[in-house]
Amino acid sequence: MDLAFVVLIQVLYAVASLVIVSAGLAVIFGMMKVINLAHGEFMMLGAYAVIAALKLGINLWIAIFVVAPIAVGVVGVVLERLVIRRLYGRMVDTMLATWGLSLLLVGIVTSVAGNTTAGVSAPLGSFSVGAYSVSGYTLVIIAVAVALALAIRFVLTRTQLGLIARGTMQKPDMANALGISPSRVYSVTFAVGAALSGLAGGLLAPLTGVVPTMGAAFVAKAFITVIGGGPAILAGLLGASGLFGAINQLATFATTPVLGEVALLVAAIVMLRLLPQGITGRFFKGSL
């Protein structure tokens, strides 16, 4: 019974961390169709923002929830202005450009922060479930994922900004004719996506070693999740994270971590064979 509960928490955690890791990419790739291969490096920047903020004596929670997203959001604005905006509509070109950006960011951070591993301990300690103990921070990750999903839904459906953004992504000419500047909307959307990636990096900093090359571990999973999710941003994100996170974690419990990763990839391949448009290409059509 205890074990079942612990497994449940671990599965929720795996799903939640996929949601958090992929949210920024879902906005940038899912909405804007920009293949952002620097997504992992945006997360890495978020993690380093937390480390830097802690060194300045800023509270850990403020560092994670305020400093990391704002810092990476600003970087996002700058990069969008300098590079990305020249390449909208040219998917392969954005891929090359963002790959170059990812290498550049790794290089810059390495020369500034050095190549030794940094990090911060997870706060909140642990609590016991029968014979097992679970890290309190695990629950924070789960809660943040829920809050993030609700916030994305709220912004996209209930606010002017969300409506304008969705409209602009679908028909930029029409939005322009209505007096909205698509270039500004793109800029803001990219910044929001970058900020979400920064938040993800900040949230994961206490759980993993922070090194300039850490982004590589996350970018593939984020892409699998977003592509598996299909055209609807939020429903796709939640659907794919739920499916892949649960399969990965349950397979890891049942067998080994290696087979857990394999199970995730096999599930993704089978699913994309059956549903080439992703989960929301077939189901939940027309949802967010």
């Binding site: 190549n115 591993t117 300690g125 016991s128 759980l207 070693g209 090359t213 419990f253 971590p257």
Partner: protein
């Protein structure tokens, strides 16, 4: 600065950076080229940087003492960026273009197995100075690092006596982790214990939640970790976050090799047991003198002189002794001289090359992590490489050329 002088100075700068890549063969006549290939960038740079620094120091010291055989040494360094393809390419360059007298380098066993055949084929002497899983048997290769037959053999009985007999192993999923965990299993069984499970993790795995729950369910008396690299630091972090650092003790064959004890907090690491050939706070006159020289060269705030860095330094010293004894840079003569039982009094104690295995007889210490320091609790003098000597005898079979894997 006008345009012309800018172009001239950039051309000069470019030529300057190109020198280590394309040195002139003519220069090799009055100098000895020592090749060094270790990762100074990429995922393994936490290990490679200190190794490169120690190599630099060793060569500088040798030159200050007048070089070798009346010639100056020149270090030709390559950074393979944690990329196996570059290892092959640089080993080739080091042997053919630089005409290196010896090549030292390689960190992971994978990189060693990339360089080794290239250098053997090109008849260039190879020194692998990293602690590793043992079993390499090759006349052209000298493995001066410490092996499980030396460290695990001492660490496991010590930890089992202290903590109990049921052991759970977590290890990195490549040949180091696979083979080392077999050694752990062997020594646990030899000491009357049992291994509950051995779990392997790819190097980029960062989520250890399910494993941690599984370990709790198995209720071991201790766990043994052979995890490697930046991503695997997550394990110690999540282990502590789940409150287990205080409940289940941990021994490791790799911890602190990349200065993990400095990155992680005191609460996350207190009480871990590790075993290596070298620890920075070894209390010997040689070590004190070495530390003085090292800090003078690289700054007093250098985080920690690692086992791998010292391995590199001592490996170089052994080779230099061999050259002195051989009185020649001919590869056969150097090997013959190194096989006479050359030894040095290094900062870690006496290190002697064993002719039959091309491995070292050296001291092994066990240390406990306390307050982010590695405190030595026991030192074992002059441990032979029993693992490799059980399968390898280069005196009898000089043509042998493979890595043996122990079957338990």
């Amino acid at each position: 600065m006008d345009r012309r002088s800018f172009i001239q100075s950039s051309a000069a700068a470019l030529a300057g950076t190109a020198v280590p890549l394309f040195p002139m063969a003519a220069m090799a006549a009055d100098e000895i080229v020592v090749g060094s290939i270790v990762d100074m960038s990429g995922g393994l740079d936490i290990y490679g940087k200190p190794m490169a620094d120690c190599m630099t120091l060793a060569v500088e010291e040798q030159n200050a003492a007048g070089g070798l055989l009346g010639k100056k040494l020149r270090l030709a360094t390559y950074d393979p960026q944690s990329n196996m393809q570059l290892y092959a390419q640089f080993a080739q360059q080091s042997a053919l273009k630089d005409k290196s007298t010896v090549v030292m380098g390689g960190i992971t066993s994978a990189s060693r197995e990339v360089i080794r055949p290239v250098l053997t084929r090109n008849k260039t002497l190879y020194f692998y100075n990293t602690q590793y899983e043992g079993g390499v048997c090759d006349r052209n290769t000298f493995c001066t690092g410490v092996t499980p037959g030396q460290t695990v053999a001492k660490l496991i009985p010590y930890a089992m006596k202290k903590w109990g007999k049921k052991v759970y192993v977590v290890a990195a999923d490549y040949n180091y982790g696979q083979i080392t965990s077999q050694w752990v299993k062997k020594f646990v069984q030899d000491n009357g214990g049992s291994v509950a499970s051995i779990d392997f993790f790819p190097l980029d795995v960062t989520n250890f939640g399910p494993t941690i729950s599984k370990i709790e369910a198995a209720k071991p008396d201790m766990i043994v970790s052979a995890l490697v690299g930046g991503a695997h630091i997550s394990f110690y972090r999540q282990w502590a976050a789940a409150g287990l650092t205080k409940k289940i003790p941990l021994a490791s064959t790799t911890f602190a090799g990349g200065n993990e004890h400095i990155v992680l907090s005191q609460a996350e690491t207190d009480g871990f047991l590790i075993s290596y050939n070298y620890f920075q706070n070894l209390d010997t006159p040689q070590n004190k003198a070495f530390k003085e020289r090292f800090y003078k060269r690289f700054g007093a705030d250098y985080p920690n002189i690692t086992e791998l860095a010292m391995g590199t330094y001592q490996g170089f010293k052994l080779w230099a002794e061999g050259v002195k004894k051989a009185g020649s840079l001919d590869r056969e003569k150097m090997i013959a001289a190194l096989e006479t039982g050359i030894s040095i009094d290094g900062p870690s104690g006496k290190v002697t090359l064993d002719a039959a295995t091309h491995h070292c007889v050296l001291n092994v210490s066990i240390a406990e992590v306390r307050n982010k320091q590695l405190n030595i609790v026991e030192t074992f003098q002059q441990q032979p490489p029993v693992d490799t000597s059980a399968v390898c005898n280069l005196v009898k079979n000089p043509k042998d050329n493979q890595q043996y894997v122990i079957k338990v």
